[in-house]
């Protein structure tokens, strides 16, 4: 498909740019402003230049070590969660009925976890995973496994991972389902006529068409899981100790707990940049592989 070059297309894009830039640019300026200053409170600020940034990236500094450790935890969390949610979401979308009353039923049930306000998600799991008053905790402990998320490192991690999978897999599944449904019938019919097996149909038709939709899904989940705050905070509070403390929780501790706005602002800028860079790399790789394949023309 050849796209023509037409700069008039900018007119179609202007409303979007305006509304997003309005919300983004001015606040961003404020944050950058904070990040290069320090305060002793009382709204008195003085210039700190790149001081905070140097601290952040220095593992021996207190700020740096906290930041880098939290960053590490976030990375592990995101990788695990993506590795579970993406294949599971694709699998579920392939199993969903294509038409009939079952469709509405599935869609509604799958939408429910997404619709629960995030603090309530945390609240549910906080109780649900307790060994004394929650179904999950009680069952697991009765199976002989020692499970207490407030005290055990693995228990805490297990809980927040399962909670995230429960909460967000439906996002991938719904995106993939919509993507699959938009594949024209003629493709399936042609594949039948060509004698393709189920696996061949998946590889030759479904997976290629899903690539765009999966790109969105993976980027969304990566960003949201990397920035996650409310749910794990409500359940574990970052504990036990700081074993489930990600960068967002650190940020809030520093900004609201210690009122160190400068440090917090700098941390959020660096945090932002890291996410941005990872997404950019991923996006470029995905779109380039598509273009590179199309380059194999003449």
């Amino acid at each position: 498909m050849d796209k023509p070059l037409d700069n008039r297309a900018w007119f179609l894009v202007v409303p979007v740019v305006a509304i997003v830039a309005f919300n983004a640019v001015l606040p961003l300026m404020t944050v950058i402003n904070y990040s290069v200053q320090d305060t002793f409170g009382n709204n008195q600020f003085f210039w700190n230049g790149v001081g905070w940034y140097k601290d952040l990236l220095d593992p021996s500094a207190e700020l740096g070590s906290r930041f880098l450790a939290a960053l590490g935890r976030n990375s592990v969390f995101s990788i695990i969660v993506l590795a579970i949610e993406v294949p599971l979401g694709i699998l579920v979308s392939l199993c969903m009925p294509k038409k009939g009353p079952g469709v509405a039923f599935c869609l509604v049930i799958m939408a429910l976890p997404l619709l629960v306000p995030w603090n309530v998600v945390g609240t549910i799991w906080q109780i649900f995973a307790r060994s004394d008053i929650g179904l999950l905790g009680w069952t697991v402990n009765h199976l002989g496994i020692d499970y207490n998320y407030t005290a055990g490192f693995f228990a805490a991690w297990f809980t927040i991972i399962v909670m995230d999978v429960w909460h967000w897999t439906s996002l991938i599944a719904l995106l993939c389902y919509a993507g699959l449904k938009s594949i024209p019938d003629a493709f399936y019919q042609a594949a039948r006529i060509d004698g393709a097996s189920r696996w061949a149909v998946f590889r030759a038709i479904e997976l290629p068409k899903l690539r765009r939709v999966l790109l969105i899904g993976v980027l969304l989940r990566f960003m949201d899981s990397f920035m996650i705050y409310t749910e794990p905070f409500v359940v574990t509070g970052g504990g036990p100790g700081n074993s489930t403390t990600g960068v967002s929780i650190e940020l809030v501790k520093i900004a609201l707990g210690q009122f160190d706005l400068g440090k917090a602002a700098a941390m959020s800028i660096v945090y932002n940049l890291i996410i941005l860079a990872s997404c950019w790399v991923f996006y470029t790789v995905m779109t380039n592989t598509r273009e590179a394949r199309q380059e194999r023309l003449a």
């Binding site: 042609a190 060509d194 194999r296």
Partner: protein, 360 residues
């Protein structure tokens, strides 16, 4: 390549679960035979049932009633992949992640054909379709007409294909490439002699591609014939009107013996007709090609509206009692303004009762 004799016995189909009156039928009860190796066109307007009929033949739809037979074998309940047919759809279906060669090889690989044979067949089909120089290109970046050729190629590459079905395949092709693709289809048919059924709503496509045209209207087959037969003796007013540009003139008339009265005018018919019941709709059909500008006296008295220039011919547009009428005249014919008389050739005046042709 094997061919197939396709037989449709008392075939009918309705998309509704309970069919009461005739309007519920997508395809009305019909019986037809399609001979080995013929090129057929299924022609008709949107909603006439032609795609439904095609899908019944290919197996994508199971008919509510009746049987489908390939070479006397009942395939009515057989799924598509077991009927040994190929289908080319309205818009190009190709596998994005594969090259042209891999696309063409796909159906054979799925059936476990051995590698060397696959390579041979792919080369053969590619040269038949002018795709040989593009075999190593990625299929996704190509133009629509090339993609349709690949779709066709996937059907041709299988040696057990008995019939190839086309569902309006030129719909998304650029107009200036349509004729090229049409030519390729005709070449392929001549070369392979496979039965081909081509669904379209475009009469030019149908008439240039097919040996025999099946015209459908509202689920019913109204006429089957060669393009010549459809032109000279339309069995239904719809066929007359749909085929030809401009279509046949259809005028209400009163028929008595050898004469037909249209408005104030009277024309002579080729033979005697019996008296028709008065509640039936009686019409007379005359193609514009068979109306001459007369010199007064005989013929239809009409008022001239305008004369259109259409290249080597001129179309005279007139009206008779408020009904439009068209005639085709030679470039140099004299046409006076105001009242004219148009004389029909009696051999080509047809009488229609309730839209169906009546022969005396």
């Amino acid at each position: 390549m094997t061919m197939a004799r396709i037989e449709l016995n008392n075939l009918a189909h309705s998309y509704k679960h309970r069919f009461s009156d005739s309007s519920d039928w997508a395809v009305k009860p019909m019986t037809m035979v399609w001979d080995d190796g013929g090129a057929y066109a299924l022609l008709g307007p949107s909603g006439c049932g032609k795609t439904t009929l095609l899908n019944i033949i290919s197996g994508l739809v199971t008919p509510s009633e009746g049987k489908v037979l390939f070479d006397d074998i009942d395939v009515t309940t057989l799924p598509t992949e077991q009927r040994n047919i190929a289908q080319v759809f309205q818009f190009p279906v190709i596998y994005d992640t594969m090259t042209v060669a891999e696309n063409l090889a796909f159906p054979l690989r799925n059936r476990g054909v051995e590698r060397r044979r696959i390579a041979e067949r792919v080369k053969q089909v590619a040269s038949m379709l002018d795709l040989s120089s593009d075999l190593e290109r990625m299929a996704s970046g190509l133009t629509a007409d090339m993609k349709q050729k690949i779709s066709l190629g996937r059907g041709l590459v299988r040696e057990d294909v008995r019939a190839i079905l086309f569902d309006e395949p030129l719909t998304v092709i650029d107009p200036h490439l349509k004729w090229q693709l049409r030519g390729a289809l005709k070449r392929v048919h001549r070369h392979s002699r496979t039965t081909m059924v081509y669904v379209t709503h475009d009469q030019t496509e149908a008439l240039t591609f097919a040996d025999k045209v099946v015209v459908m209207l509202e689920g019913e087959v109204v006429q089957i014939g060669t393009p010549q037969e459809l032109f000279e003796e339309p069995a239904h007013t719809f066929v007359g009107y749909f085929i030809g540009s401009p279509g046949m003139n259809v005028l209400p008339a009163v028929v008595e013996g050898c004469k037909a009265h249209i408005g104030d005018s009277a024309i002579t018919l080729a033979c005697r007709y019996p008296k028709f019941a008065s509640e039936k709709k009686i019409e007379v059909g005359i193609r514009p090609e068979f109306l001459r500008v007369g010199n007064g006296g005989q013929g239809l008295k009409v008022n001239l509206l305008r004369v259109e220039d259409a290249g080597s011919r001129r179309i005279v547009r007139a009206e008779l009692d408020g009904l439009p009428i068209a005639a085709i005249v030679a470039e140099d014919a004299a046409v006076s303004a105001g009242c004219l008389s148009l004389e029909p050739d009696p051999e080509h005046v047809h009488v229609y009762v309730d839209s169906k042709l009546v022969r005396a």
